[in-house]
């Protein structure tokens, strides 16, 4: 059950970003989880809730966007969904010498929703902000 280690890493990274942005809380975390990332989404969701306790992320929602596996054969240019278990030999020409995995191993924090301290102007941080609500 390394989902606990992964959840702890997610919480630590998001909390660090939230603290340095002057946020009071984090209400949502968005992840991208590849089909071949070796992570069980349900287990991750369960661990995430536990890992959030007593942090800026307490009670935060987790939105995990699944990323399907895709591969491409350089020999014949075929492209296919890998499926699970993945097929990493070309289904068209049966060669495997030049197969590339295009997507499916992602395990990334895409973004988060931060709550600012009440009655204060938003902290004057610039870079990671994409939209304001």
């Amino acid at each position: 059950m390394h989902e606990m280690s992964i959840a702890v890493a997610v919480v630590a990274q998001v909390e660090e970003a939230a603290a340095s942005a002057g946020a009071a809380a984090v209400t949502e975390v968005r992840l991208r989880v590849g089909e071949l990332a070796g992570v069980v989404p349900d287990a991750l969701a369960f661990c995430f809730e536990l890992a959030c306790a007593d942090t800026l992320l307490a009670g935060a929602a987790l939105a995990a966007e699944p990323v399907p596996g895709r591969a491409r054969c350089g020999a014949c240019t075929a492209e296919w969904p890998t499926g699970m278990p993945p097929l990493l030999v070309c289904p068209d020409c049966d060669r495997a010498g030049d197969v590339a995995l295009l997507a499916g191993r992602e395990l990334e924090i895409a973004g988060a929703r931060f709550e600012d301290p009440p009655g204060q102007d938003p902290a004057p941080t610039r870079e990671p902000i994409v939209e304001e609500h």
Binding site: H2, S5, L36, A37, L107, A112, E115, D116, H133
Partner: protein
């Protein structure tokens, strides 16, 4: 007031960079790490006992570190070979991480060690996600576990530099279908070498040590498709699929050796 922020961070970035740092630091000392992954009871310790004994006979400086949830039994068994051995108890953690390994090597790993074998916690799921700074990742399965293991644990087998079948001395009794096993390995990790071994008879013990020593001497390792060969890097590797004996095929020499880094 709330705001949506864009973060775009790899979750395992910390482990990946710790692993890279460790790999570089060990390379500077002339040491290559061999990471051994399998289900509980596949025969990691038994095979390792043979490898350590043979390495000692051949005069190859080796050491071994074994990680378990509990008990020092494996270290006791490995120490009989007479090479430096260390037991790490993970306190319930189901896998080793790069910073933990680094911490355990501090002040212990003898200078001049050529190969450090790391027996990971018996588990085919979790350890697969953690690069330990190894130069060679070996995934083992015994003949009694069923030919479909590679399909049930595609992350582990898909990221292996070398696949090892253990306990071939009982392959007949277990009705092990080698062709089916190889076909399943090929589906998730085309081009990876499959080596047959038995700790009982000694089959494959020398070949496995040869592979590890070659990697320590800088021979290129197999690059699994799952480890994310970028299309931009393709430089004429059409059909070298069968040339990977011991990772000696030259097609991937231009790639960094950290073949287990996750794709981004």
């Amino acid at each position: 007031m709330c705001r949506v922020v864009d973060l775009q961070q790899a979750v395992l970035a910390k482990n990946t960079s710790a692993a890279q740092t460790l790999r570089t630091a060990l390379a500077a000392r002339g040491t290559a790490v061999v990471n051994l992954l399998s289900s509980p009871g596949s025969g990691k310790t038994a095979l390792l006992e043979r490898e350590l004994g043979l390495a000692r006979e051949r005069g190859v400086p080796v050491a071994a570190l074994t990680a378990d949830l509990a008990t020092e039994n494996d270290a006791t068994r490995l120490a009989r070979s007479g090479v430096p051995v260390k037991q790490v108890l993970t306190d319930g953690l189901c896998h080793l991480e790069a910073h933990m390994l680094g911490r355990h090597l501090d002040g212990w790993l003898p200078d001049g060690t050529r190969l450090l074998f790391v027996e990971n916690v018996g588990n085919l799921v979790c350890p697969a996600s953690y690069d330990l700074g190894e130069s060679l990742r070996i995934v083992l399965a015994s003949v009694t576990e069923g030919e479909d293991k590679p399909l049930k644990y595609p992350t582990a087998f898909g990221l292996a530099h070398l696949v090892v079948v253990t306990k071939t001395d009982i392959a007949g009794a277990a009705a092990f279908d080698e062709a089916a096993f190889r076909a399943n390995v090929r589906q998730v990790n085309p081009g990876v070498e499959v080596l047959l071994t038995s700790a009982r008879t000694g089959e494959g013990v020398g070949a496995l040590l040869d592979r590890a020593v070659a990697v320590a001497e800088g021979a290129p390792v197999h690059v699994p498709v799952m480890a994310g060969r970028q299309p931009a890097h393709a430089h004429g590797h059409g059909g070298h699929e069968h040339g990977h004996t011991g990772g000696a095929a030259g097609a991937d020499t231009g790639r960094p050796r950290s073949a287990t880094a996750p794709t981004r």
